[in-house]
Amino acid sequence: MDNEYRLQMKGITKQFPGVLALDDVDLEVRPGEVLAVIGENGAGKSTLMKILSGALVTEQGEVFLDGELIGPDKTPRERMELGIAIIYQELTNLDEMTVAENLFMGDIPLKGRVIKTVDYKALWARSKELLTRFNLPYDPFSLMKTLTVAEKQMVEILRAVSRNVKVLVMDEPTSSLSETEVAELYELIHELKDRGVAILYISHKLDEVFAIADRVQVMRDGKCVAVHNIGEVVTEQLVELMVGREIEDMYPKEEAEIGGVVLEAEHLACQIARDISFNVRRGEILGLFGLLGSGRTEAIEGMIGKLELEEGTVRLEGQEVSFANPIKAKDMGVAYVSADRKKEGLVLMQTVAANISVTMIDELVKGPVMDFKREAGLVEEWIGNLNIKTPSPYVATESLSGGNQQKIVIAKWLLTSPKVLILNEPTRGIDVGAKVEIYKIMEDLCKRGIAVVMISSELPESIGICDRIVVFKDGYVKGEFLRKDFTQKDILHVAVGADKQ
């Protein structure tokens, strides 16, 4: 058998209803090698990793570990025992337990014959040994919750190591780490490489890719579009490979008349967002572009009072305002559609009608009871306006598709006749057809003189639909582009910080 590769994935194809998520993807990684897998959101990186981990099953394609076929019927647990470990962005530590218990979760040393009890001595010794081997100074018996996020992540990686990991997948491992912590992570990765572990490093930060990877595999629209040795490529090439897609007809961009400034933010500071200034005009679509964790959401949520605003001033139509909470912002004409549709946007088990009318519910009364007729009229009107496809206004919202759910959230906020509509990742997780419709809705709103702000981490859509783009990186505004100056390369350069080269 050909054992040059530690892990081989061949011809992986995965079909979701209506979407081909992975199309005949190959992936190979050698022992002691770091392979960076890059691509935009929705390129298929996480689907591929889920198939590797066993969280998703596909009938098409084969996975080999050290030349041995791993059947699709192998459970995530069995794969873990074979040596495939994944560190997800959301950590899976148990905060109330000790570092040692987290390290050996599921494999705690026991003693005793009849009644087995935890062998704390062995647990402590084995943890201490593992921690010193990797130069980590934590006390094995300190509680997990006393560690920083970075330290927790280290523990999670060591947990995989303690199980004789052969292939380690790291999904955006640096998203919540500081620079020194990133350096520590790199050190750990080098240790693991020396031990012959094959590492899949998923990221869309190109400077990291150049810092740590040996080879890079670029994915786009469910396909593997290129594999390069890191010495043979430059940033521009990778950027081009990541975004290179035809985008013209997806965006129904029309010229709307752009008026005066409606909303203005100056020197906002909120959590990681620092010194953020921007403004938006009537009839304009302003894009706030940046990678996840670049501070876009914090800036906006600080501004509308969902998070605590630490510094800065906000002006609405020239008047200085301070929104105590999103409801106050709504009452003053600033509506915010959060990125988390399921948790913060909709009451999924309730009807479409109830979800649309909720923002006006106190006005929909006739004496002591609800004015169901008026509600129905209003709801029908907005279902028509936004072309929401639902068999009736009285079905549970959860039975509709993501695109239609998103339209319901937008409808609910349009009911309040906002001056400014802020959309956070409005097209996340919805199919292409529905995306186009959302863009059309945004265009229509502009024509009616509403100022639209769109937070997005998808560059093609930002370029396709926005009149102006403000680029965020690491909590700061790093650049601003007018529509006539839009190029994917320039914007992505600012956003991924490839200017370090």
């Binding site: 209506g18 009451v347 088990m349 309730q350 009364v365 609800m370 039975s399 598709s401």
Partner: protein
Amino acid sequence: MMVTLNDKEAVELQRNEGRSLKEKALAAGNNLSLLIALIAICVVMGFTSKYFWTAENWMTLLLMGAILIIRASGTTPVMLTAGLDISQNSVGAFTAISVATLTYTHEYPLGVNLLIVIGMGLGLGGVNAVLIAILKINPLIATLGTMMIFRGCAWAVNEKTQIIKDRVLINMGRGRLMPLNDADGSQIFPGIPISAIIAIAIFLFIYWLMKYTVYGRKIYMIGGNETASFLSGIQANREKFIAYLISGVTAGYAGFLSACQVGAALPQAGAGNEMNTIAAVVLGGLSLAGGKGNMIGTILGCLILTVITNGLDLNQVASQKQMIVMGAVLVLAVLLDVIRSGQLKKQ
């Protein structure tokens, strides 16, 4: 391209329609199957006792069920918000013994008695409301605490059984409306219990509140997703506060009405069967996670539990042993619901 898109949407729409119809059937099916279960239980009880189907027995049954219906109706809004109030019986006992003691010496008119009952119910419910809606204490823990506190308060007010001698109050508890007698004095129809009429009125009011008012809509929205509701402008804390007030005031009144039925208030009244109310509501199809359930389900749940109690009473099963049946019915009902919703298969 547009054509294929529309085709896809049409298919999706069809699928969704199918699903929603199934969901509708499930939603209606819950109340329908409860009704069928109720009828089936009645039929079985009818076989075990000749007395079961008499008008006299049914009127007794309604008298017995009145208290449960009031409590369950009052606590349904709380439970729809994913909350819980297990202090109801203690609120009732504390209220009843306080008012009974006061009115024994002062002989208040009915209006004053009711005002004190409502005031105490609101006050005690308000304590729960503050703890849960404002101070954000877990509802189970908060009302477990107040359940013990209010029970202790009831004992502090009066350690002995407090007789109620006021005829008006006794009549509210035990009185019957429109009894019919033969010319020779033998009974044709025993009359509808006044306390059952009151219970139905309270039920209908809360049914109306939940189904037709903005308040009801808000309760359902909060129960379905509190964060999203709050971000949409619903003052979740205020609406939950009111829900605990409703639960408190119905609990206070139910406790007092129960004392009027018995003819005496006891500090230990209702102790030990705090969970009956919750059992009835859950049996009625309410989800403890909130947002799902309705008042029709609640009253059917109450009737099922009451009919079982009554049938077992008629067969001279001791009330302590009846708990076996009650518990089994509750677990079975919820199990059936789990199976029907397909949750077992998902795992």
